[in-house]
Symmetry: none
Subunit: 286 residues, 2 copies
DNA sequence: GCCGTCCGTCCAATGTTTGTATAAGGTTGC
DNA sequence: GCAACCTTATACAAACATTGGACGGACGGC
């Protein structure tokens, strides 16, 4: 339990603003002490953090609030029919139900904006999926089923946006890399930002990066570094691309991105990272 | 939901122009806040981006608007090569041009029916792609780029069809299997036939097949057997599934399908194979 | 050159949204 | 009792949007 002043420190939002967000948008409804003091719990602090992040990015407060309330960071899916339980990716994976997973994804994307789904909902669901797999409650096939469905959905979103010209940006995983889901999400964000993203996918051999970069005249490449095994091949890619003349700027994302030297680390949130790249490209082009 | 300022940043179109496009051409009609502020959704932003791209390429705004409004959501991609040359997958892969490959695929699917594209055009293009790769005129990255784009396109087609109930059919590659393109094409055909296809994707471990089959009560599984290395894991899957009670009928497709024992071989052409399965299921259910 | 059309920008008056400031008073814990 | 903390309610200003008309550069036909 946190008092308003602590929450203000924790979130970087002034106390007055916290109160006004509550009154105007109902973003959280903290419990009250006997004397009427607000008492926030951890979930509410997390929601307020998300709200603060959105507002910081220029989303109007009213819309940010509606987005967060609508998605609830875990969309309650009232799937027609069944027992009214709240379904999520893990449930859909367990049941191997194409209709259900389709509904879960459609609802998640309908309840909120693309950016919020990709930044908030998707990572948390993938994390739960990974935990369920590690915990043995999900088979590889079930995990495949779910991540293939998510990737397909994202691919469809990627394809929805007609590719545009402009400075090309390579997107891929280093040799040996798998786990394409967030990479696809990132590519979709990039293309939605109007960036000419060239999606190379998983497991791109070392030598190909520089060959492709010079072929299309790319000056920027984005590399996903997720597993420990990805670090060394990724470092090799960075070294190779940096040695080119003119050099190719490499940006790295993923859990292990901080282990890579000579490349700029991407922002935590996918949409932020994509927006930053788009901004830099526009600035560079201007 | 996006406010006008965000949309302006997102699309690179000034706020005044966004309003004037709306007023003069009705290109989008955003919802309004209680106070009358515009609130754009994702689709509208996508439309505006397409509009901006067209205008940027020199299309007069009035025409661009009519094109976008008239043709539903089919912005015609300004193909780089307007010289009338017939482009193909290999050229698009060589150039690593997202716009071109998008156009190639859109043209292919527009020029004839889905079945014809998947049965005739796609295999021959993939064959040419493979030959170019083996001949060294295409790098792995270029091959990835093209097959990822095709897979995405097919995935979007798969997602277009809402999944239906009915007897489930498992679709996947055995342990170690890659090359998902034709598998995805097959899954898309199946779903278009109204079959409840459960797409497991590549590299599904041996033990998972029977686990998944009993989980969802599948009586039919489709297995792709492409490479020589896939034969032995595929045979193991067939043996395992056949041993279940009740047994799961396995159908095998792909270049090396004739090396598998105890499973029915699928027809040569993907659409034929999918139609046959759909027919059998209907007959079995009826 | 002249005219008409197209299209992005600018303007001004008005209204909305949002964070902050203020006043008056209650709660908490030492 | 007292200082620090919190409450509600009202007020306010800066930032943001709205409408509709007017303006001027670009382009094409005559």
């Amino acid at each position: 339990m946190y008092a308003v002043k602590q929450v203000s420190t924790l979130t970087g939002v002034s106390e007055a603003t916290l109160r006004v967000w509550e009154r105007r948008y109902g973003i959280v409804q903290p419990a009250r002490s006997p004397g009427g003091y607000r008492q926030y719990d951890d979930d509410q602090v997390a929601t307020l953090r998300a709200m603060a992040a959105l507002v910081h990015d220029g989303v109007p407060a009213s819309i940010a609030a509606r987005t967060l309330l609508g998605s609830d960071v875990r969309p309650r899916v009232a799937t027609a029919g069944t027992d009214g339980a709240s379904f999520d990716l893990v449930s859909a994976a367990t049941l191997l139900d194409p209709g259900l997973i389709h509904a879960v994804l459609a609802d998640a994307f309908a309840a909120s904006t693309f950016d919020v789904v990709v930044d908030c909902w998707l990572p948390s669901e993938l994390k739960r999926l990974g935990e369920a797999w590690e915990g043995g409650s999900l088979t590889v096939a079930q995990e495949h089923f779910a991540s293939a469905a998510v990737t397909r959905h994202l691919a469809a979103r990627f394809e929805d946006v007609p590719p545009q010209g402009g400075a090309p940006v390579l997107v891929g995983l280093p040799q040996g890399g798998r786990h394409e889901v967030m990479l696809m999400a990132f590519a979709a964000c990039l293309r939605r930002e109007g960036v000419n993203a060239i999606y190379l996918g998983a497991d791109v051999p070392l030598g190909d990066w520089s060959m492709v970069a010079s072929e299309v005249g790319a000056r920027v490449a984005v590399l996903g570094v997720h597993l420990d095994a990805d670090v060394s091949p990724a470092q090799a890619v960075v070294d190779e691309l940096s040695a080119l003349r003119p050099p190719v700027t490499v940006r790295v994302g993923g859990r292990n991105r901080h282990l890579i030297r000579g490349a700029r680390q991407l922002e935590d949130r996918v949409s932020q990272a994509a927006a930053a790249i788009a901004r830099d490209l526009r600035a560079g082009a201007a």
